[in-house]
Symmetry: none
């Protein structure tokens, strides 16, 4: 979570473990109340009952703190087995949409991505803490579909990886765009239409 290197903590008073949790919780609360742009380090510190110094000792700045604070939200996404690839995809689309309804996720996600366009270390942090972790959903969904016989097993490992990346970008991108840019509801109807389009595309690709 925080920037601590556990090896270095040899002597002196150890960092409060409670503080870390309190700070991240306070960060999410502040995101809900104030949004990204109005969130301040001072406010987070006050909410967490902690001094500003304590924040800066653990995180380099607002960006890093917020990434860590919202990353955990994305780990709640799961892929419960609903019996078919279509149902699985539709399920994860709706789960993701529900997550994007939460104000702390909504405001934070785009903001840190925007910041990351000029800050490579932040971009890497986002990828490792949020983005790449969710690719597991794509991989798991494919495995299940292959086990069910809905999809063929792919021979070329690198092509398979490229394909997973593409599917991930399409799903995540479409849902985010619908929810945050178009600002239209990601409801069952839309999820159904989107899932159809995607799966027909995949089926066509495997056929042709």
């Amino acid at each position: 979570m925080s920037d601590t290197d556990p090896k270095a903590t040899r002597t002196g008073r150890p960092r409060s473990v409670a503080a870390d949790a309190a700070i991240l919780e306070a960060t999410r609360a502040s995101l809900v109340d104030l949004g990204w742009s109005k969130l301040t380090m001072s406010d987070v510190a006050t909410r967490a009952g902690v001094a500003k110094t304590t924040l800066y000792r653990r995180w380099a700045g607002k960006n890093e703190l917020v990434v860590d604070a919202v990353a955990v939200l994305f780990d709640e996404l799961e892929l419960p087995d609903r019996g078919s690839l279509a149902a699985d995809v539709q399920g994860v689309v709706l789960q993701f949409a529900a997550l994007l309804e939460r104000p702390e996720a909504r405001t934070a996600l785009m903001a840190v991505v925007a910041e990351s366009t000029r800050d490579d270390s932040l971009r890497r942090r986002i990828r490792s803490a949020i983005v790449d972790r969710q690719k597991r959903l794509v991989l798991l969904g494919r495995e299940r579909a292959q086990a069910r016989g809905e999809l063929r097993y792919e021979d070329d490992a690198s092509a398979a990886a490229r394909n997973a990346d593409l599917i991930f970008d399409v799903i995540a991108g479409a849902v985010v765009h619908r929810a945050l840019v178009s600002a239209e509801p990601v409801d069952a109807e839309w999820a159904n239409g989107f899932t159809s389009l995607l799966l027909l595309g995949l089926a066509g690709a495997q056929a042709g």
Copy 2:
């Protein structure tokens, strides 16, 4: 562009028309040099050779100014007729990716979308100034494909509109996610793979 109501400007010194252009140009330059989060109204004013008050007289704040400044960039997108739907889609994907390579577009787009999650009037401004204007590309592409016989004409107008929205969200979302979140290149290979997936999906939908 700016917030002026032309009817109200009856008496007094008229607003400088040159200032509007200079300010928007300065805003783009500042975005390139400093990025969204470091861009300041003072800096834009200085670059434009204009007083800060002149900015605030015309735009409510940084968000609104930046939306107007980058909106024009998106109007450069075109859909040159390349003879097939696949080529057309691939072309616009690459054009859009090229636009997202420009630092002023990169940094501004996500940032204003992030801000818009807490500001409805900003969201509406983004939609009217940027998003909705580009749906013309989807509509034009479909018309051409229908004229070529690549796609059927749709009977249900509202279903057709929903379909266009979906395609728009999928294309724009996937490209943005690939370019800014995954931070991987949107090259001809990726564009080709994505286009195939999309068109096979559309074909399957029209078939079934």
Copy 3:
């Protein structure tokens, strides 16, 4: 009053004579409501129903405008013949104190004097518009006292002038200091004590 040279008003639309009075009246009203430091040219213009340009065409700035606006108040001071020098002095002291109770005079007088410490032309304007005009009261009082036989006629004209200046500084200075610096009431009791001190001093000087 205003800075106009009447000879120059030869051609074109003549300046509104009503505007001058309205502006000075508005200036006094603004002094009452806002005080010197909060008074603005824009506010005066608005109150007078006049454009800022009109103000600046007639007065160089806030200082000059205020001097003219309050100068007329000081011309209200009179020296009614009360039968004795003591009564005359006491009367003018109380009149002056009453004037200094008026907020527009209170706030303006000290402020323009403060400004004049760095602006010679302003200092001259204050002297000619306000200060020197009131020396008439000292001269008139002395004449009357001499006519009554309360004071001797002086032979040395320049010594007489110096003496009048001194008396003027003592009276005006003491009253202003009591009213504005010490911020204690200038009532009949104080006026009586002060008058005694002054006249005993004058008597002693003429005796010795």
Copy 4:
């Protein structure tokens, strides 16, 4: 000096003691260079090598800051024993006049008094920091004159206090008026004439 309550400063980083002195010195320098009306908090902060926030943390505004900055100048006034009441008065008059020659005192004194006409807390601050402190000169002068036998001891304590106040207003008022309003020199000749008038008045009062 500054608005600090020393008891409250229990925790946190203590205020820089050097900053207080630097700020007051910078304020006086700025008064000399720019005068009251052109003096700005920013300029003072820059001269003092201090952030604007540090100024506002200690003083409510320009008025309060300037009062404190010039108050110390008035404490330089002394009443050296010159052997007679006349010589003592003349000496303090010339000292006071010399102080009013200093541009920082000149410009600041009248300005803060002007402001104080609309601000009671400022008026109280001026009185406690400047005015009342100098009454000691009157009291000391009277004591010495009484010890020398030049003045009688007074029985009525409250009358004595009123008398001291009157003398203070007369001396301070006359000198200020001569120096700043009439803008004539307070030289030995004038001081001599004024002292004669005052002491003859006092003598007459004690006689009759």
